[in-house]
C-alpha cells in the first residue's frame, strides 16, 4: 500500500523539469570558465516546455503524451550537445524554440485549413521541384549533395520532403478509395431503389444512402482524365520510385532507404495485391545489388559493417570508435562530462546515441529507445482511432518515418545494420531535421484532436 503511494506520480512533467535542472546545473559546473548563460538557457528550455505543455492541456489540443516524450528527448539532446560543444548546444536551443513555434503553427494550419487531401498534384510538383533545385544548386556536405544555401543559411530540402511525401501517399489513396466508393455505391443504387418500391420505407436506409447520392454527382464532375491516370497503381509506383531515385542521385542512402520502407509499409497495408508487393521487394533487391557494384560508398558501408576491424584506422574508424564508446560506458555510464565521446567523428549528428550510451550508460540508452517506443505507440494509437483515410495515412506515415528513422540510425551506430547517415529524431544536432520533426509531430498532434464540428445538422428530405 505504501509502495503504491510512493509510485503515485502526479505528473511526468515534474520529472522532466527535475532532470533538466540537474543536468543544466551540472553543465554550469562543467564548462570552464563558469558561464551563467548556461543557467539562463536551461531556465529558458524549462519555461518553454512547461508553457507549451500547459497550453496543450488547457486548450485541450488532443494527445498530451507526444509532447512530453518529445520534450524529454529534445532536452537530452540539448544537454548532450552542450557537453560536446557549447556552441552546438546554444544553436540547438534556439532551434528548439523555433521548432516549438512551428509545432503549434503546424497544429493550427493543419486544423484550420480544410481539404489537405485535394492537393495531390501540388505535393508531387513541390517534391520534384525541390529535388531538382537541390541537384541543380545544392552543395555537398559529408558526401551527399543535399544542401541548399541561401545567404548564410543552409537547409536540407529532403527533410521537408519527408512530410510532403507522406501527404502525397495519403492524398493518392484518398483519391483512389473515395472514387472506388462512388462506384460501388452507384452499382448498389439500382437494387436500393427496387427495395424502396417493393418494401415499406426503411428509415435507416434512407439516411445512410442519402449522402452518396449527392456525392456521385459532384464526384463525377470532378474526376478528369488526369485523376484516372494517376489512380493507376503503376503510375503511383512510378512517382514513388522517382522520389527514391532522386534521393539516390543525391547520394542520400539513409533517406532513400527510409522513404522506401515507409512507402512499402503503407503499400502493404492498403494494397491487396500481394504479388505486386513481392515484385517491389525484388526490384529493390536488384537496385541494391547494382548499387553495391556501381556506387563506391554503398560498397564501403557494407564492408565496414561486415568487418570494421579490417581497416580500423581509416574506413572503419567511425564505427569502431562508436563501439568503443558504448563499451566504455557500461551499465551506468561514465557520468556527464567524464567520457570522451568527441573521439567519434560526427558525434553531434549521426553518432549522438553512442555519446549518450557512453556518458549515461546502457540503461540511459535503453531508456532513450523506450521513449521512442512510447512515442511510436502513441502515433499508432492515434492512427487507429482516426476514421478519415487521408488523416489516417498521414498519422501512420509520420509515425512510420520517425520509427524507422530511429531504427536505422540506432541500428547503424551499434553495428546491427549497415550504417547510413540519418539523424536521430529530436536528439541529433541538425536544423532542418529537428524542425521537420517538430512540424510532423505538430500535424500528428492536430490529427489526435477529434474534430467536433458544431455546425447545424444536415437536413433530410
Amino acid at each position: 500500500m505504501k509502495l503504491n503511494k510512493f509510485f503515485r506520480i502526479q505528473n511526468p512533467i515534474y520529472i522532466l523539469i527535475f532532470v533538466n535542472l540537474l543536468f543544466f546545473g551540472l553543465l554550469f559546473l562543467y564548462v570552464k570558465p563558469l558561464d551563467t548563460f548556461i543557467l539562463a538557457s536551461g531556465a529558458g528550455v524549462i519555461a518553454l516546455m512547461v508553457i507549451s505543455y500547459l497550453a496543450i492541456i488547457k486548450l485541450q489540443m488532443g494527445d498530451e503524451y507526444i509532447f512530453l516524450i518529445i520534450s524529454m528527448l529534445t532536452s537530452l539532446g540539448i544537454i548532450m550537445l552542450y557537453r560536446i560543444n557549447p556552441e552546438y548546444g546554444v544553436r540547438q536551443i534556439s532551434l528548439y524554440a523555433l521548432g516549438i513555434i512551428l509545432y503549434f503553427l503546424a497544429y493550427i494550419i493543419f486544423r484550420f485549413i480544410k481539404g489537405w487531401d485535394k492537393y495531390l498534384y501540388l505535393y508531387i510538383i513541390f517534391n520534384f521541384i525541390s529535388f531538382i533545385t537541390t541537384i541543380a544548386v545544392g552543395s555537398s556536405i559529408g558526401g551527399a549533395t543535399n544542401w541548399i544555401q541561401i545567404g548564410g543559411f543552409s537547409f536540407q530540402p529532403a527533410e521537408i520532403i519527408k512530410v510532403s511525401f507522406v501527404f502525397f501517399i495519403a492524398a493518392y489513396y484518398k483519391l483512389r478509395f473515395s472514387s472506388d466508393e462512388v462506384v460501388t455505391h452507384s452499382e448498389g443504387l439500382d437494387s436500393y431503389e427496387d427495395q424502396i418500391i417493393n418494401s415499406d420505407v426503411n428509415k435507416d436506409l434512407d439516411y445512410t444512402e442519402e449522402e452518396p447520392i449527392e456525392s456521385i454527382e459532384t464526384e463525377i464532375g470532378l474526376i478528369d482524365t488526369l485523376n484516372e491516370k494517376v489512380k493507376n497503381v503503376y503510375v503511383f509506383l512510378g512517382l514513388a520510385y522517382m522520389h527514391i531515385f532522386f534521393l539516390l542521385l543525391q547520394r542520400e542512402l539513409g533517406l532513400s532507404a527510409l522513404f522506401f520502407i515507409v512507402f512499402l509499409s503503407i503499400f502493404y497495408i492498403y494494397e491487396d495485391d500481394r504479388k505486386l508487393l513481392l515484385y517491389n521487394l525484388g526490384l529493390v533487391l536488384i537496385i541494391g545489388i547494382i548499387s553495391y557494384f556501381t556506387m563506391s560508398h554503398v560498397n564501403v558501408r557494407l564492408t565496414t559493417w561486415i568487418n570494421p576491424w579490417a581497416d580500423i584506422s581509416n574506413k572503419g574508424y567511425q564505427i569502431t570508435q562508436s563501439l568503443f564508446a558504448i563499451a566504455e560506458g557500461g551499465f551506468f555510464g561514465t557520468g556527464l562530462g567524464l567520457g570522451s565521446p568527441t573521439y567519434i567523428p560526427e558525434v553531434h549528428t549521426d553518432f549522438i546515441f553512442s555519446a549518450i550510451c557512453e556518458e549515461m550508460g546502457v540503461f540511459g540508452g535503453i531508456s532513450v529507445v523506450l521513449l521512442y517506443f512510447l512515442l511510436i505507440y502513441r502515433g499508432f494509437k492515434i492512427a487507429l482511432t482516426i476514421k478519415d483515410i487521408f488523416k489516417r495515412i498521414v498519422a501512420l506515415g509520420i509515425t512510420l518515418i520517425y520509427g524507422y528513422q530511429t531504427f536505422i540510425i540506432i541500428g547503424g551506430v551499434i553495428k546491427l545494420i549497415p550504417l547510413t547517415g540519418v539523424t536521430l529524431p529530436f536528439i541529433s544536432y541538425g536544423g532542418t531535421s529537428l524542425i521537420s520533426a517538430f512540424i510532423s509531430f505538430g500535424i500528428l498532434q492536430a490529427i489526435s484532436k477529434k474534430t467536433i464540428e458544431e455546425e447545424e445538422a444536415v437536413i433530410l428530405e
Binding site: I9, L29, G335, K450, T451
Partner: protein, 150 residues
Amino acid sequence: MFEILSWIIRYIFIILIYYFLFGIIRLIYLDIKSINRMNRRQYNRPYLKLINRKEMLDFDIQEFYDLGQITTIGRGKQNSIKLLDRYISSNHAKIVQDEGEYFLEDVGSINGTYLNNEKIADVVKLKNGDRIGIGQVEFLFVKEVADDEA
C-alpha cells in the same frame, strides 16, 4: 568535486528517466482503462444498446449507454450522450425518467426522432425492446423486468 557530482547525478538520472517512463506508461494505462470502463455498463438499470454495427459509423459511439434521471442526446457538448453524427442536431432528443417509467421526447431536432420506425410527434412512453432511431444511429431500449417477474 565535479566528478563526484557527475557520478551521483548519473544514478539519479537513470532512476528519474525510468520513473518518467513509468509515469507515462501509467497514464496511458489509466487512459485505456477508463475507455474500457466506459464500455461496461452498470446492471439493474435500463440502458440503450447500439443496434448498428459500430464500425459502420464514422464517429465515436459506445455499445451501451446507461440512462439516468434525464438523458439528453445530441451533438452539442452539454448532452449526456454526445454523438458527432451530421444528421443529429445539437439538441436532438431526451429520455426522462418519471416514477420508474421512461419517456422519449424530441427536443426540436431537424431530422426527427423515430420510435420503431415511426416519427414521434409527442412524448412517448418506452417499453422494453423499443427501437429508437436518431440520425444514422439506432438504439435498443432495454429495461430488464427481472424485478417485476419475481
